[in-house]
């Protein structure tokens, strides 16, 4: 029997390839092919039904002049700036509370995780009712205490923070779980030693909990960033990108270009640019947070 050997000395037999073939087929059909195809698309104009037309770099030159592309990029960054710190503070706060050995802790853990598994569209429609300017429950409550009404979704300065609050509520359960894992991995002995040395709970939190949670924090920041860049359902259902394009996210804009207007080439070019932006932001975050970690 003939055998080929890899550099590491492991045999690469035909049966191994066959076993891997389902995944390879899946990868080729749903990852590699779309990626290569979209790379081809960025240099073309195509609306699915008519033949592709070569346009060279026109899709990129359009991007430079397109005010909505610039707005969507800026809106997404605004969302991230609000959403990530809010998510971390809220998730860490609840994780610390849920880490305290209390009765019913399991119930509350499940409760906070519940929004994660509920349909995004259903959640968004409920929040639309809450945020309604004239008839929303939040403004009815605020009116009862002689405050407001607050233009949650109908003011260009308020709409994106309102969406960030909603997105935090929806996703915080995942990050609570991650922080809980991080908290439970911190050795108890460190707290005991610090306590003997006279460190207050605040000092213990600052000098033990936070530094040791830094790897978890990096994971959460990276996941939140990638999740934040894919913001779509909330503005699509809640505001349609308004008011005055203040909630037009990058993905929503790509969706509109591709599926409303049939500009597949331009949408593909936007997608590639967004992917590069995400990569740069994540690399930057890792560099900054990684430095803090080593310091």
């Amino acid at each position: 029997m003939k055998r080929r050997r890899s550099d590491s000395g492991h045999s690469l037999r035909a049966p191994g390839i066959w076993l891997a073939s389902p995944y390879l087929l899946f990868f080729a059909a749903f990852v590699a092919y779309p990626l290569v195809f979209s790379l081809v698309l960025v240099f073309h104009r195509w609306n699915i039904v008519t033949p592709m037309q070569w346009v060279g770099l026109k899709n990129f030159s359009r991007m430079v002049q397109d005010p909505l592309f610039h707005a969507s990029l800026m809106n997404t960054l605004v969302f991230l700036v609000i959403h990530i710190p809010l998510q971390i503070v809220v998730a860490l706060g609840f994780a610390i509370l849920l880490n305290i050995p209390l009765r019913g802790r399991g119930f509350f853990r499940a409760l906070y995780f519940l929004p994660v598994v509920v349909s995004g569209v259903a959640v968004t429609i409920v929040w639309q009712q809450l945020y309604s300017y004239d008839y929303g429950i939040l403004n009815l409550v605020l009116r009862a205490v002689h405050v407001g009404p607050v233009p949650w979704l109908v003011d260009s300065g308020m709409a994106m923070p309102s969406i960030a609050i909603m997105a935090t509520w929806k996703n915080v359960g995942i990050y609570i779980v991650l922080f809980l894992v991080g908290l439970q991995n911190i050795p108890r002995e460190l707290y005991e030693a610090a306590s003997i040395d006279g460190a207050s709970p605040t000092h213990q939190f600052r000098f033990i909990t936070l530094p040791l949670l830094n790897p978890t924090m990096i994971v959460i920041v990276v996941l939140s960033t990638i999740g934040g860049f894919s913001l779509f359902v909330e503005p699509y259902v809640l505001t349609g990108g308004g008011p005055m394009q203040s909630t037009l996210s990058g993905v929503l804009y790509i969706y509109n270009q591709a599926f409303y207007f049939g500009h597949m080439g331009y949408a593909a070019a936007l997608g590639f640019v967004y992917a590069i932006v995400i990569l740069l932001v994540v690399l930057l975050q890792r560099k900054v947070l990684g430095k803090e970690d080593t310091a």
Binding site: W18, L19, Q65, I125, Y133, D134
Partner: protein, 455 residues
């Protein structure tokens, strides 16, 4: 060691064989499903076609009334034409019919004939070579001109000179008004001009129970910048204010006009005066719930009122026009037409069925079942329709308006231009952040940019 190695190799081989069998089985199942599913793979001859019967697939709009209408017509056709069997299937539900039809053209899975063709999307279909030119049929002229006025027919002619759509029905966008709410504010007739509308709005819009929340609004529009929402406010109002003008003139963008500025000013005043809410209504149509006095919609709303607000006293009137405007008010027709797809193997038989759909008898059936206005010139003169209009006097208003309607310009990029208009409308009218002059100018420039980009 060798023993283990041999055992492992045997096990791997067994697993591989099982995996291969599994993959082969899955592939077999997939191919079988594909062959069984209609529309997957190439069109194959059905049993009835093999027996010498032509089989046509017909897609009507997926709403209940039109499906009921289509069911009745198809049953009648099949009884009368045993050699041409029509299979009715409502358009698969999606975000829009246009998306479904484009996908079907791309996948070559179109029906033979469809009766929900929006003229605004026609250019997409014809550019893809998806439609049959109906004026190639020898009896096209005689059939169509007998039913539809020549001037209106010409508005459906494509830029290549051919007609790809059989004009079928129109839903003129008009102003519904809640008579009870107007009378409660001491108003005895619906407003006809912007000035009258705003004066009435100041009296109608109020907080009845004093809880700080407005209970009755003069009107309401979805404030989200969604392109097709402008088909029910800006666009019909523009047509009304410009004596039937549309967005384009001789193929060039032409809406930086006094009429467009007047429309923007009007809606800006509606929001600035708080006569329209800056909110989203959930949980019901505010007009049906008696929360707003006027509503801009088509005749399909008559059935909704009869079903959900049977006790409401209401009327229908032409859209308000700028103060000092003279002449009849035109409006947007929201036409839906019939087209035959190039993918059809029996276009001649499909044309016969299309003609059957637009006979006077079936036009009356369309009125009776779906409350929609057939696009025919003799609607109010033909005695065949007199009984229906006697029983449904509110529909007379729509029938009268039908001859003063406009559709969409036969140009590409319409959705994108309407999207731009929506964004500018929102900024200027809803939020008052831009003057109507600047807004209309900006929309016009951005629309030109879109046209230039897309060429």
């Amino acid at each position: 060691m060798n023993v283990f190695r041999t055992d492992n190799e045997t096990m791997v081989r067994v697993m591989c064989r099982q995996a291969l069998r599994l993959i082969a089985a899955l592939a077999g199942i997939t191919v079988s499903i594909c062959l069984l599913l209609p529309g997957c793979g190439s069109r194959s001859e059905s049993k009835s076609e093999a027996a010498g019967t032509v089989e046509l697939t017909y897609w009507p709009a997926p709403n209940v009334q039109e499906t009921e209408f289509a069911d009745s017509v198809v049953a009648e056709w099949n009884a009368l034409h045993p050699s041409i069997h029509v299979r009715m299937q409502p358009i698969p539900v999606s975000q829009s019919t246009e998306e479904v039809l484009l996908a079907a053209i791309a996948g070559k899975t179109t029906p033979d004939i469809c009766s929900n063709i929006w003229p605004g999307a026609l250019r997409d279909y014809t550019d893809a070579g998806g439609l049959v030119a109906l004026d190639a049929f020898p009896d096209f002229d005689s059939v169509v001109t007998a039913r539809t006025p020549r001037g209106l027919l010409d508005s459906f002619r494509s830029t290549d000179g051919h007609v790809y759509q059989l004009p079928w029905k129109t839903n003129p966008v008009m102003m519904y008004y809640n008579d009870d709410l107007l009378k409660a504010a001491g108003i005895n007739r619906p407003p006809r001009t912007y000035g009258e509308y705003l004066a009435d709005a100041a009296r109608v819009t109020r907080d009845i129970d004093g809880d700080g929340t407005i209970d009755v609004w003069m009107g309401e529009r979805d404030i989200r910048p969604i392109w097709w929402q402008r088909l029910f406010d800006f666009y019909p109002f523009l047509i009304a204010a410009s004596d039937g003008g549309t967005l384009f003139k001789n193929g060039q963008i032409d809406f930086d006009t006094s009429a467009a500025r007047a429309v923007f000013s009007f809606f800006q005043a509606c929001y600035a005066g708080s006569y329209y809410p800056k909110t989203f209504f959930q949980g019901g149509d505010p007009f049906l719930l008696g929360k707003k006095a006027t509503h801009f919609s088509g005749p399909w709303n008559v059935a909704a009122i009869a079903k959900f607000a049977p006790s409401m006293h209401y009327g229908v009137a032409p859209l308000p026009v700028p103060d000092g405007y003279s002449g009849p008010a035109y409006t947007y027709g929201d036409y839906k037409n019939i087209a035959i797809f190039s993918n059809s193997r029996h276009p001649r038989e499909a044309w016969e069925f299309a003609k059957f759909l637009v006979t006077a008898e079936h036009d009356r059936m369309l009125l009776e079942i779906a409350n929609q206005i057939p696009l025919r010139g003799d609607l109010l003169q033909n005695p065949g329709f007199a009984g229906y209009f006697a029983q449904n006097p509110v529909m007379v208003k729509f029938a009268e308006q039908a001859i003063r309607t406009r559709g969409m310009d036969p140009v590409p990029d319409l959705k994108e231009i309407f999207d731009t208009l929506s964004q500018v409308f929102e900024r200027c009218c809803v939020y008052g952040k831009e003057s109507p002059q600047a807004a209309v100018r900006e929309a016009s420039l951005r629309a030109q940019l879109i046209v230039d980009w897309n060429r």
